[in-house]
Amino acid sequence: MKGRSVPKQLLNRFAPYLLVIAAFAAVRAVQARVGLSSSFEGQLIPICCYIVMAVSLNLVVGISGELSLGHAGFMSVGAFSGVIAATALQSSISSGLVRLAVAMAVGALCAGVAGMIIGVPVLRLRGDYLAIVTLAFGEIIKNVINCLYIGYDSGGLHFSFKSEADLHLAEGGAAIIKGPMGATGVTKLSTFTVGFILVLIALFVVINMIHSRSGRAIMALRDNRIAAESVGIGATKYKLMAFVTSAVLSGSAGALYALNYSSVVAKKFDFNTSILILVFVVLGGMGNICGSVVAAAFLTILPELLRKLNLENLRMLVYAIVLILVMIATNNPILKGALNHLWERITRRTARAEKGEKVQ
């Protein structure tokens, strides 16, 4: 493939930002004039979270080339640590916005630490075995949080695996995480604007990392690990970099997600959620950041759209069929060749129309 011209390259790089900003502006405009349906309003913040999750997972799966099946685990760690931070700081910090920011930072940090702890052993494995271990870790995180009791009082945080009573909280203290019931009575702090900013931050970090020395190293390791090592690039260091960065972003998204609801349980961040995000990444195109944004947003809205079309019962069924058909359409060589051919004819026609016909 001939190299793209510089302006086209820049457009590719900034397309995700433009798309997200345009979408945000559009939503705000519609909200001001006509107002959005309540179900759609309720989806705004989750869409932001899922976009960040998809972009961060794309860093691991598309750019680093490692299949991670437990990504919801990082979201979970971020969610619950964010809730703990937000609730524990309720008395000290009055501004909801600042509490939200702190919670997201705490979520990011905790998820990052988890990413480091998990990444160091896991990234030594290859292919399907790495996938299985990430799946296992995701399940472990879900299981452990499900049994966890965390409360706080004037003395600080208390942990227990047995029961709420076992926390021995002092007067004025309260349990934040109550085992299988998760976190309840959480003050909703998340806003769509904050979600939008988080998406921009995620895009900034991921896109800039890709177009830097570290990104090149990560992609080189993906394309040909042995060759990359032969030119002095350490595999563990850079794979870990992608993994931990991805975990940090997911943790932040998790905190935002949790603080959008009054209660959240660990079962929400299970294998199905991990797979959901993986579907966003694969459908949007591996390594294609713009694609992840579009796929995450579209596929989160799709079930709601189908509900509107009174296909309530068939909703998930149609979703599954659409998924299968799209995968076959985009991967079957015969179909793919036909579609590519069609695309080239269209782009050639428009290019010629713009420039005017050139005599051969």
Binding site: Y129, I132, A136, N143, V282, L283, I324, T330
Partner: protein
């Protein structure tokens, strides 16, 4: 006394995982794909048997055979419609498609049979025999272990002695070369899915006989666990599936009994991780090194 009881239960549960794991490992060995829909085929098999026995009052054996027949057809249909067009595609694309099929099966079951748990009648009744030391063992436990042993032996003989079995082994080594030798790769792959799905039906029946609540999501978690068992034992290896499955079942039951019921799943997965870190290709897996 307790120990023996838990061990037997563990082996029984492990046998079910082993039978399911076989389906995963055979398909992976030959078609090089992770068939995520496998767990849901188990569920379908269980439902077919349930309706055969409860609604149509067929004898349990007929119910099982019917379930096997339906699942075999289902497996072949899935393979032809969803996986065959993607033979040349990257493995991640096939994985996502398999996930789509899994979602499809679960939601179709939800539509057809609703989400309320059905009480599955045990196919061998609920009789119990008592061992000399007074330990009670249910019929279903014994039948499960026996079924697992029989299936393993049959499968090993099949792959080593019969023409189709050898064709399967050839395809798992090198599809192109197998084709050049006159082996019909399409038929071989379909056969693999057929066998795997039939086994899934058996596993579904045995699973629901031992743990009677049946819902559209019943196959999901055992499917994941059996998948990890297959990788644990070394993906692509039939004895590995057996070993991985049994070990996983035993570890799960022991964790539940001696450590904590809620954390038992976490413990099982933690053991898996530890083993894979020590033996990165699973217990009986092949060490494949890249040629430079």
């Amino acid at each position: 006394m307790d120990f023996l009881y838990n061990l037997i239960n563990g082996i029984s549960l492990g046998s079910i995982y082993a039978i399911i794991a076989l389906g995963y490992t055979m398909v992976y060995g030959i078609a090089k794909m992770l068939n995520f829909a496998h767990g849901d085929v188990i569920m379908v098999g269980a439902y077919i048997c349930f309706f055969a026995v409860s609604s149509f009052n067929m004898p349990p054996v007929v119910g099982v055979l019917l379930a096997m027949a339906v699942c075999t057809v289902l497996g072949i249909v899935i393979e032809r419609l969803a996986y065959k067009p993607l033979r040349q595609a990257p493995s991640l694309a096939v994985l996502i498609t398999a996930i789509g099929v899994s979602y499809f099966l679960q939601n179709a079951a939800l539509l057809l049979w609703k989400s309320d748990p059905k009480v599955f009648p045990s196919v061998v009744g609920n009789d119990v025999i008592k061992l000399p030391n007074g330990l009670p063992i249910t019929y279903i436990t014994m039948v499960t272990v026996l079924a697992c042993v029989v299936i393993m032996v049959a499968l090993t003989l099949f792959t080593s002695r019969t023409k189709m079995g050898k064709a399967m082994r050839a395809c798992s080594e090198d599809k192109a070369a197998a084709q050049l030798m006159g082996i019909n790769v399409n038929t071989t792959i379909s056969m693999t899915f057929a066998i795997g799905s039939a086994l899934a039906a058996v596993a579904g029946v045995l699973l629901c006989s031992a743990y009677p609540a049946l819902m559209p999501t019943t196959g999901s978690l055992p499917g994941i666990k059996a998948f990890t068992a297959a990788v644990f034992g070394g993906i692509g290896s039939i004895p590995g599936a057996l070993l991985g499955g049994i070990l996983l079942g035993v570890i799960e039951i022991f964790a539940r009994a001696y450590i904590s019921t809620q954390l038992s799943d976490a413990i099982v997965f933690a053991v898996l991780i530890l083993v894979l870190l020590v033996r990165p290709t699973g217990l009986l897996g092949k060490q494949v090194s890249e040629k430079v």
